[in-house]
């Protein structure tokens, strides 16, 4: 069966940001703007730092803004899918969740468009840095929380949604890891024990886990496709086009 449009959304939502992080980091490191290391382990730099100097900034800006739009489309597809397979009226809680997640994705757009050499030196552009930091935190926290809640919802209704076994286990694993990272990070911040290493590595891991989460719907959406309604009605009746 050919890959469906919603499945393409899943793939792009996962692959595009990960590819963007990698290319942006490589360009920035090659340009001597950030250190060479494994940022997931060494925490030598942040994703933001790779998007300050050009050409890495162009890549991060274009790639992540595009990704944010695809995230919104993923949440839209999820909403339609839930209405289609489970309940035409999934309840105000799920609708609110999807709205919040979509708005969080839009804060990522705002966070990214201001990045660039216009923010250097940081001491002269505190306003821009504060804006970036706040919108980035809003995106990460709200997206992670929404993904975790959506996972719990899908777990509860896994039989109806036909998302049992490996599919739901993958979602649960990603959600649990995100929860652990958030708990450790927030705990450290509250206790004043945060370090650059903890903040930097958390950023890379949360961003990656958020991106991978979107891929987990790929298997769920094998039969979820974009169709002209006349076609779907004909198929239901066993007719051929």
């Amino acid at each position: 069966m050919r890959i469906t449009v919603p499945q393409r959304v899943c793939l792009v939502a996962a692959v595009l940001p990960l590819l963007t992080f990698a290319v942006s980091y490589l360009l920035s490191a090659a340009g001597g703007h950030v250190d060479w290391c494994n940022p997931y382990i060494d925490g030598c730099t942040t994703i933001t730092a790779t998007g300050i100097y050009y050409p890495g900034a162009y890549v991060l800006r274009g790639g992540i803004v595009s990704s944010a739009v695809v995230f919104v489309l993923w949440w839209y597809c999820t909403h339609i899918w839930l209405k289609d397979v489970k309940d035409p009226n999934p309840g105000w809680g799920i609708k609110l969740l999807i709205w919040v997640a979509s708005l969080a994705s839009l804060t990522l757009v705002a966070s990214m468009v201001i990045l660039g050499e216009n923010m250097v030196p940081s001491s002269d552009h505190r306003g821009l840095w504060n804006f970036h930091s706040i919108t980035a935190v809003v995106f990460f926290v709200f997206t992670s929380v929404c993904q975790i809640i959506m996972t719990l919802y899908m777990w509860r209704h896994r039989d109806v949604l036909s998302t049992s076994g490996f599919r739901i286990s993958t979602k649960m694993l990603l959600a649990v890891i995100q929860i652990l990272i958030l708990v450790v990070l927030i705990g450290a911040l509250i206790l004043g024990k945060e370090t650059h290493w903890l903040i930097n590595t958390s950023e890379w891991w949360i961003a990656t886990l958020c991106s991978l989460f979107y891929l987990t719907s790929y298997s769920d959406w094998k039969a979820f496709r974009l169709m002209r309604l006349e076609q779907s009605q004909t198929r239901t009746a066993g007719g051929q086009l």
Binding site: P6, V65, L73, L229
Partner: protein, 216 residues
Amino acid sequence: MSFGQYVALSSFVLSMGTIAITYAVAISQGTAPVCNPFLDGCTDITHTGMKGDAGFIFRGGMVTACVFFLFWWQVMATWLKPVSGNISRRVMVFFGSLGALGLLAGTAVLLPEKSATHWGVHVRGANLFFQGMLIALTINYVLIFKARKQGFNVPSFWFKTILIGLLWFQFIAFAGVTIGIEMSHGKRIIEWWATAFIGCYFLSSWWDWKSVRLTS
């Protein structure tokens, strides 16, 4: 609202809305001259979205719109699937997507200072948008024209006919929309109108795509 209508509407609102808001903010911040650019051509779209807050709005809004343009072509291919061949649809989607990606790249490299901007990338990207879209929209129109003869219902057909006619008239009469670093008043006027026509073509699918939905 179906998924198809959502994509059609978003493509129009994000692109045209971004351009309108960008110009308004640029005027308020004194970074763009005040005029009716559709008649006076005092500025081109690019220069309204370079400096200050207008620059942030333009870059964010247009990159976002370009992503919706990519999905607009995917929906169009799905809608035309029963009435057109695979090769023609793929060629159409190729040029449409190329145009969208060109504009995305061309917008992402814009900076507040003209001297710091990668004009080579921007000019090539913007030209790829106008020329790629013209080719893709023309293929699209021809496929729709042929499909109508087979009884395919296209509520927006006459609107699309007017728009494609205007786009080709501009291309032939005024040697098309070719973006440059410094553009003449005439070229700027054409740029604004061509952009508006393309945006309206995207919107016109709102009336066609009521039945294009996501379904299991």
